[in-house]
Symmetry: C2
Subunit: 242 residues, 2 copies
């Protein structure tokens, strides 16, 4: 084979192996059911311990990308199952996949005093200033969602930053924040006057709301996000692994 590990690199071996496997997995052979190389072989090939390969594989198994069976071997889970995984954080991507053009009807970034409920969620003192982003987005025809985000002061998000790019990329590249987990609360409500006006529907029409708390890799709260979807315009897809 052709992959190698780089002993000089600071990145831990098992993470390098993880990366290698992630690209390997994409190969069509494996997508169509070919048995994945056995861990002993991979270890020998790369000249590292079997155990190290195991930790890498374990991670991928955890993510549902690989499946293993004692005495049999390792297989790649069919790609179909994996679509949309990894996409939950990007509305833009989701819409683009459906072939719809996204229009930002409004994008507002401002510094506001945290209301009590938000302060409680963020574990900060009320009236602490936080960055608030309001987005009204949709397709050519009509607005589809109203989104309001607040960022924890810890993230050091600034109002000058460019929020037209995908949010998680901005956070990673500019703020060194790595988003890993989101906890969400979804419910259906009737549109208030304010919401109805924004989303160009009638008051009382069904609206899908999603309250999302986003956590970084170290378990700390990054963002609190509230979205109101037009009930007719969109359906929200999630994918959950046990």
């Amino acid at each position: 084979m052709k992959w190698r590990i780089d002993p000089d690199l600071t990145l831990p071996l098992h993470q390098q192996v993880e990366k290698i496997i992630r690209t390997l997995v994409e190969k069509p052979e494996y997508q169509s059911g070919l048995m994945f190389p056995k861990e002993v072989d991979i270890a020998n090939e790369l000249g590292i311990a079997r155990n190290t390969v195991r930790t890498a594989i374990a991670k991928l198994v955890q993510e549902g990308i690989l499946v293993r069976k004692k005495g049999v071997g390792t297989m790649v889970v069919r790609k179909k199952l994996l679509t949309r995984l990894d996409h939950w954080f990007s509305f833009t991507k989701e819409m683009e996949e459906k072939g719809r053009k996204i229009i930002n009807y409004r994008l507002e970034v401002k510094l506001v005093k945290a209301p009590p409920e938000l302060a409680e969620i963020f574990h900060i003192k009320p009236d602490t200033r936080v960055v608030e982003i309001t987005r009204l987005r949709g397709d050519e025809e009509k607005p589809l969602l109203l989104s309001i985000s607040w960022f924890h002061p810890r993230t050091k998000v600034q109002i000058e930053q460019d929020f037209t790019r995908p949010l998680y990329k901005v956070l990673e590249e500019e703020n060194n924040v790595y988003v890993t987990l989101s906890r969400e609360d979804i419910s259906a409500i009737a549109a208030t006057n304010d919401l109805a006006e924004n989303l160009q529907i009638k008051p009382g029409d069904p609206i899908l709301t999603r309250n999302r708390t986003v956590y970084s890799s170290d378990g700390q709260i990054v963002e609190y996000n509230q979205v109101f979807y037009r009930g007719d315009g969109i359906s929200y897809s999630v994918e959950i692994g046990r």
Copy 2:
């Protein structure tokens, strides 16, 4: 301390440790921020290798129950954050946590011919007979949700089975089906006459619907489930890891 491992038990050590930690984690001391025992101590205490303890802890970290920091230690993630983890498959559990008693207003199990849309989802011939379960559930006051499930013929679900128990347990224990992944589609709609009657609301009232396709560990479709939640009565929570 007082916990022990049982060397005779067939259960692997690290799984036993995992169990021990799971109960440990519940202790109020740890809920309120006390540092978790260090892995070396746990290993010594139980008389097993540090590595074994590590694999157990790693699992819990993965689940977001523990957080570790190099040079510092291990901490339990605040309980509040954990509610509902792992519970997406059990409505009963979710409600019980809120201290509400669940009432089954209706439970219907019957064999029906698969309508075309379902046949398409299941990749089976239309009119193939499938088991359909209809549930109308709620609390003492009112029905909160109407759920309709269909099971793929492959699962060999029989109408005689006891569906009053948690569904995923029935599938595991009686049908040898291990549910691992679900793909969901959530949207808000206005209640139809039929739905309004069932859920005791007015036609046009907001309803949260969820279409869920449930997959087993080998990636095959197990169940297709449609749920209609009263918009006022409930909010639906999910948790998504990247």
